[in-house]
Each structure stands twice: as structure tokens, then as C-alpha cells.
């Protein structure tokens, strides 16, 4: 009887103690940009198989949607956004401490073609191939203005409008061909895979695993660098586990996973200071 009482007491005391050891069933909830779907699932797999306890569960959606959910009080331990604007929205909503934000990866834009378009061959990354997209008759799908991919695409179009060979006419023609503004980058990708759209602006990383779609690189002087910040939420219930997952992403192993999915990690070094408290990120 006494033993039973002791067990009950122990059972009650466990979770109440602030820095209690992480239990086997501890779950880290990660809100992550849709473009991170594949890479984060693989990262979580190698994170968990590295002898660590607990699970990582994901909520993948457009970053703006995740920021909106955080604003309305959704429970999460980590937020990984596809741009700094939505991370700032989460900071403004009081869910993220400004100091905890770190850039963990970068990405670039790429043109993906629909299944039946462009005679199923990759186009050369030249301005001429881009010009074709502004001719009437093409169906182009992009991200909505609120979505990071939509923001980046508008910046690419602004760059193109400044380019002497493309110019404002290119942007106007391109925009006239837009038939749908999707809620996240995966929506653009699925419209291309279904063959409903001729072309779409996606992240380079999105096309890594999708070998059946022809693609075209955007010339470097027109392209943008998509910044992916990550942070723990202020009210994380599993701060240690969550920090361990972030640390893993900054480790060499984590970087290898990110790079195998088409993300680059060199931008971590370009933003000194931000990653300084992660010992194993020094290599970048």
C-alpha cells in the first residue's frame, strides 16, 4: 500500500518538475514551411535513429499559414519559416523570442515545367528561354502574395523588369500568363505534376526529388536567395528536445541531409553571430 502510494506520488511529481528528464514519449511539434516537407522528414528520421528518445511531429503548410496559426495560439515547439517576414510575424505575435532566431538553410528559385510542356526537355538557363514564358498561351502557376514563394517570385519578376533584355514587358507578359496563385509551394508542384500548368516558379529544392519534371535554372543575376530561419517558441513544452533537433540541423549530418535535398547551408556563415551558440555549426 505504501509502495503504491509512493508510485502514485512519483507519477504525479514527474511531469510537474520543471527540468524533468525527457520521457520516452516526448513529442516535439515542428511547424515547418511546405518546402521543407521532404528534407525535414528525413532529418527527423536520422535525428531519431541517432539514439535519441522522443518523436518529432510536423505541421507542414505555407509559412504564412503557420505564422497565422501561431498568432492564434497553436501549440508548437519549433517554427521553421521559408522567409524572414513570416518569422517576424511570429515574433510580432509574441510567440518567438527575437534572439532565438537562426538561419539554417538557403534556397533558390527555379522554373519547373508541366509534364507535357517544353517537349519534356530541360531548357537552358538563358534569358531567351525565359522570354518564352512571357509569350501568350502559357499557363503559369505561382505562389500567392502572402506565401514566401510568392514573395520571392515577385522579387524575381522585379529583377527581371530591371534587366535590359527582359524589361517591364517581360514581367507584364509573365503576369498575364498566371492562372493560379497557390497557397504553398507544394500546390504549385502538384499542378505541374498533374500537367494542368505549363510552368511554375518553385524552389530548386522542390525539384530535386521530382525527376519527371523538366526544369530551367534562373540566371544567377535574376535569382534570389531564400532565407530559412528557425526558432524555438517561447512556450515550448519540450525545450530541450526541440533544441536538440535544431542542433542536429546545424550539425554536419544535418547539413548533409539539407544539401542532399537541394538546400544550401553556406548562408549560415554569411550571417555571422546568429549561429554562434551552436558549437558544431562552426564549420559553415
Amino acid at each position: 500500500m505504501l509502495l503504491l502510494g509512493g508510485l502514485l506520488l512519483a507519477g504525479c511529481g514527474g511531469p510537474a518538475a520543471g527540468s524533468a528528464p525527457v520521457s520516452e514519449t516526448a513529442e516535439v511539434t515542428v511547424f515547418a514551411a511546405a518546402s521543407l516537407t521532404d528534407v525535414f522528414q528525413e532529418a527527423a528520421h536520422s535525428f531519431s535513429s541517432g539514439g535519441r528518445t522522443g518523436n518529432v511531429v510536423f505541421n507542414f503548410a505555407g509559412s504564412q499559414q503557420l505564422a497565422g496559426q501561431l498568432r492564434e495560439g497553436a501549440r508548437a515547439d519549433i517554427f521553421a519559416s521559408a522567409d524572414e517576414m513570416q518569422m517576424q510575424a511570429a515574433i510580432d505575435a509574441g510567440r518567438i523570442g527575437k534572439g532565438s532566431v537562426k538561419t539554417f538553410a538557403c534556397n533558390q528559385l527555379m522554373i519547373g515545367f508541366g509534364r507535357r510542356a517544353a517537349d519534356a526537355s530541360d531548357a537552358a538557363p538563358e534569358v531567351e528561354s525565359l522570354l518564352k514564358l512571357a509569350q501568350p498561351g502559357h499557363k503559369i502557376v505561382v505562389g500567392a502574395e502572402a506565401v514566401p514563394i510568392g514573395q520571392y517570385t515577385r522579387r524575381f519578376l522585379a529583377n527581371a523588369a530591371q534587366d535590359e533584355r527582359l524589361g517591364p514587358e517581360f514581367r507584364a507578359g509573365f503576369e498575364a500568363n498566371i492562372v493560379s496563385e497557390e497557397q504553398n509551394v507544394r500546390g504549385i508542384l502538384s499542378k505541374l505534376q498533374l500537367g494542368e500548368a505549363d510552368a511554375g516558379v518553385v524552389y530548386a529544392s522542390d525539384l530535386v526529388g521530382v525527376t519527371e519534371l523538366p526544369r530551367m535554372e534562373i540566371p544567377a543575376h535574376l535569382n534570389i536567395s531564400a532565407i530559412y530561419p528557425i526558432a524555438l517558441t517561447r512556450d515550448s513544452k519540450q525545450p530541450e528536445q526541440a533544441a536538440a533537433f535544431v542542433t542536429f540541423l546545424f550539425s554536419e549530418k544535418g547539413a548533409a541531409v539539407l544539401e542532399s535535398h537541394g538546400f544550401s547551408t553556406h548562408c549560415r556563415a554569411e550571417r555571422p553571430g546568429e549561429t554562434s551558440d551552436f558549437a558544431d555549426s562552426g564549420a559553415f
Binding site: G68, K139, V179, E181, Q183, K191, G195, E196
Partner: protein, 284 residues
């Protein structure tokens, strides 16, 4: 009696107790229905709707609705749902007549087919429409060769609405038409009325309440569709971005516009249901 049966056929709850004088006599077991036991459910149904109104700045609803995004969505929603409703009457009435005036093999299967879109997840409906009318779809492929492409157009919005909403009218019409007396139609035929006259002066007036009720339900469902539309028609302001889609985007871009549109849709739905109940109650 006819009213409640018609309502049941349409799955619209009619206030049996309050409506008929005969029915009120059945209310003699108050002990079985203590008021407090119903409170949790009433609160659960009412609270989100009240919260929506509470969070909305009602004085500013007009200004938010005047914004181009909201205005275009309202105009598009109104004309596409009106077209879908008109098509429902033109195409659905013959089907309802077939179901009530003829016995044939496969009638039960057809009856199930009519109900299917109302229980299918709208996303499934959207995907199915893409598989049929999309560029690489069963029918869409041929249409595409002929130069007709439906996906990403307002026509796609109408087709999506027609698919998910027409069953409500057809179901109600079957209910109403099966109860309008065949003997009266036969008597009219004996008196020399032709088919069209019988339909116009006997069949339709007898089933009028059910037909109108079903029509309003179809319109409301068409107005509210989200899943089928965003999958099949995409999202483009003024062309395929209906009110529900604009609310979804607005949640991320401008919550106030989303709230204003939500309140309008909620008020519309409330008015529609009241109208249906009044229409059905009037025939007593």
C-alpha cells in the same frame, strides 16, 4: 405532414413541435428533456459563431468589403453560384422527374449516385473533376485538343459548384415530386392537358415548396464551396477566387477582410435557412 416529409428528404430539420398544432400535443414528456442537458450542445454550436462576430469590427465591415479583393470575390461568388443554381434546375429537374415517374433497372444505384457528392469530401470532388475535365483528364484531353481548357477558369468554378451542390436540389425535387399526386396528373391528362401543361400547372405547383427549398440549399452550398473549387479551378482573384477562397487567403494576408467576408457568408447562410424553413412551413 407533407412538409416534414419533404424536409426529411432534404435533411432540413423542421421544428416539428412548434410547427403543427397536432404535433404540439406530442410534447408531454418534459422530464425526459431537461433544459440543462441540451446546454452544452447549444453553446458549442453558438459559441464559434458569436466569437466570429465578436472578433469582427462590425462598423468597419463595409470598408473591408469595399476592398478590391473582397469586392471581386463577392461578385464572382454571386454570378458563379447563380449560374450553377440555374444549371441545376435545367439539368436536375429532368433527373428528378425520371426518378419519380419511371421504374427502371439501376434506379437504386442512380439514387445513390445522386447522394454521393454530398458525402464525398470536397477535395475528392475537386480531384475527380480534374481527372475528368483536366488537361490530361478523360474528357479534358479531347477538349484540350479542340482548344477548350476548363481548369483555372470561372467555368471550372461553376462545374465544381454544380457537382457538389446540385444533389441538394435533386434530392429535394425527388421528395417533392414523388408526393405530388400522380392521380391529379392523370385527371389533368383525361381533361386533355398535354405533358407540358400538366408539368406547368399541376406537377410544379404541387411540389413548389420542396423545389424552392432545394434550390435555395443548392445555392447556399454552391456559395460556400471551397475544396472542390481550389483544387479544380485554382485561385486567381476575379477569375476563380470565390468568397471562401478569399477568406482562406485573407486569414493570412488581412484577417479583417477574412472576418468581414465570414460574417457576410454566415449571415447569408442564416437568412437562407430561415427562408427555407418559412417556405416549407407555409404549405401547412
Amino acid at each position: 405532414m407533407r412538409t416534414t416529409e419533404a424536409a426529411e428528404a432534404m435533411r432540413i430539420p423542421v421544428d416539428r413541435a412548434g410547427g403543427g398544432r397536432r404535433a404540439s400535443r406530442r410534447l408531454t414528456r418534459p422530464g425526459l428533456a431537461p433544459f440543462w442537458s441540451a446546454v452544452p450542445m447549444i453553446l458549442f454550436l453558438a459559441l464559434p459563431l458569436l466569437a466570429l462576430i465578436w472578433r469582427t469590427d462590425l462598423a468597419d465591415v463595409g470598408t473591408h468589403l469595399a476592398q478590391p479583393v473582397a469586392r471581386r470575390a463577392i461578385v464572382l461568388s454571386l454570378w458563379t453560384s447563380a449560374t450553377a443554381t440555374l444549371l441545376t434546375v435545367l439539368l436536375g429537374t429532368p433527373l428528378a422527374l425520371l426518378m419519380t415517374r419511371r421504374q427502371f433497372r439501376g434506379r437504386r444505384a442512380l439514387d445513390t449516385l445522386i447522394d454521393l457528392p454530398t458525402v464525398l469530401p470536397p477535395a475528392v470532388a475537386g480531384l475527380a473533376l480534374l481527372m475528368a475535365f483536366g488537361r490530361r483528364g478523360m474528357l479534358g484531353q479531347g477538349l484540350s485538343v479542340a482548344g477548350i481548357e476548363i481548369a483555372f477558369t470561372s467555368l471550372a468554378v461553376i462545374l465544381a459548384q454544380l457537382f457538389v451542390a446540385s444533389p441538394y436540389y435533386i434530392r429535394a425535387a425527388i421528395g417533392g415530386l414523388s408526393r405530388s399526386a400522380v392521380e391529379l396528373e392523370e385527371a389533368a391528362a383525361l381533361d386533355g392537358a398535354d405533358g407540358r401543361q400538366i408539368f406547368r400547372f399541376v406537377t410544379v405547383p404541387l411540389a413548389r415548396a420542396s423545389l424552392l427549398g432545394g434550390l435555395v440549399m443548392t445555392w447556399a452550398r454552391a456559395l460556400g464551396d471551397f475544396g472542390a473549387t481550389i483544387l479544380f479551378a485554382g485561385n486567381y482573384p476575379g477569375r476563380t477566387q470565390t468568397m471562401p477562397l478569399a477568406i482562406y487567403i485573407g486569414f493570412e494576408l488581412d484577417l479583417d477582410v477574412a472576418l468581414a467576408l465570414s460574417v457576410v457568408l454566415m449571415a447569408t447562410a442564416f437568412a437562407i435557412l430561415l427562408l427555407v424553413k418559412w417556405l416549407l412551413g407555409r404549405t401547412d
